[in-house]
Symmetry: C2
Subunit: 131 residues, 2 copies
DNA sequence: ATAATTACTGGAAACGATTACCGTTCCGGT
DNA sequence: ACCGGAACGGTAATCGTTTCCAGTAATTAT
C-alpha cells in the first residue's frame, strides 16, 4: 500500500536543486543537474534530484521536455501554458506562447471525436551561439 | 571501423514486419509489433524488428512518435510532412496536416535567431472507442 | 550452377535513463 | 527533547533500446 505524504518538507537538498535551477535559463537533464550540484559543492543524491524534479513538475513550478533521443530535460517556468524553443546543443530555452496553435490542436482532435486532449509541441534548433 | 552497407536486401523478416504494419492503422511499439508477429506465427527476432523499423523511418516510409513516457511508437505513413493524433489507450492514429502550425514554428524560431529548426507536434487523447 | 562476398539475423549481453527498495537521517509538531 | 513520518541516498532493479558476434542467407562474381 503506497502511502501518500500529506506534508511537504523543506530540506537542504530541495533548496540546492531549486537554487541551481534558478541560476540557469537553460534546460538540463537530471544527470547534468546532479553533476552541476556536485561541482558547486552541494551534496545531493541522484535519486533525490529525480524526486525533486518530479515534485516540481507535479507542482507546476517546473516542466520537462523530452529530446528526440528520449531523455528528459527540466527547467523552471511560469505557470501559464506555453511551449519551448530549445537549443539542441546547449539547452538554451525560450518560452513561447501560441494561442492559435492550442486552438488548432483542440479543434483537430475534436473533429475526430477525441476527448481528454493534450498535446506536445516543441521546437528544436541551434541558437545563435551554437550555430 | 564500422562498415557501411551499400546494398539493401529483401528478406523474409523485413517482409513480415512490413506486412504487419500494412495491416494496421494504429501506432505500436517495437515490442508490441514483435509480439503481434509472434502471434501470427512469423518468427522474427526483436532485434530485427527494431532494425527494420529504424530502416523504414530512415527511408521515410514510416515514422515514430514518442509517448510522454518515452517509448517509441511506429507506423507507416505518407511521404508528405504531417503530424499525428494518437489515442493514448489503443494507439489509433490519424494523420493531420497543419501548414499554419509549421509556419508558426519556423517563424518563432527565426525570431529568436535559431537555425536548423525542427519541431515535434503530437496530439494525444482518447478516441471514440476508448472514451 | 557454384563459389565468394557481404548483408542480415537473433539471442545474449550491454547500455543509459529512470525508478524501486530499504535502512538511515532529519524535519516539524507536541 | 521526543516521536512519527517525510526525505535521503546508495544499490539494485527495470525498461526500452542498442551492440556484439557467430551463424545464416541473399547477391554477385566465376
Amino acid at each position: 500500500m503506497t502511502t501518500i505524504p500529506n506534508t511537504t518538507r523543506s530540506t537542504r537538498q530541495r533548496g540546492e536543486v531549486l537554487a541551481l535551477l534558478r541560476d540557469t535559463d537553460s534546460s538540463h537533464s537530471a544527470q547534468q543537474l546532479h553533476q552541476m550540484l556536485r561541482e558547486r559543492g552541494a551534496k545531493v543524491g541522484l535519486t533525490t534530484v529525480y524526486r525533486t524534479l518530479q515534485l516540481l513538475v507535479d507542482a507546476g513550478e517546473a516542466d520537462s521536455t523530452r529530446l528526440p533521443g528520449g531523455e528528459q530535460l527540466f527547467r523552471l517556468c511560469g505557470g501559464t501554458h506555453h511551449h519551448h524553443l530549445v537549443c539542441r546543443r546547449c539547452g538554451k530555452t525560450v518560452e513561447v506562447a501560441g494561442p492559435a496553435v492550442e486552438k488548432w490542436a483542440d479543434r483537430v482532435a475534436a473533429e475526430h471525436g477525441f476527448t481528454d486532449v493534450g498535446h506536445t509541441i516543441e521546437i528544436f534548433g541551434h541558437c545563435t551561439d551554437c550555430a
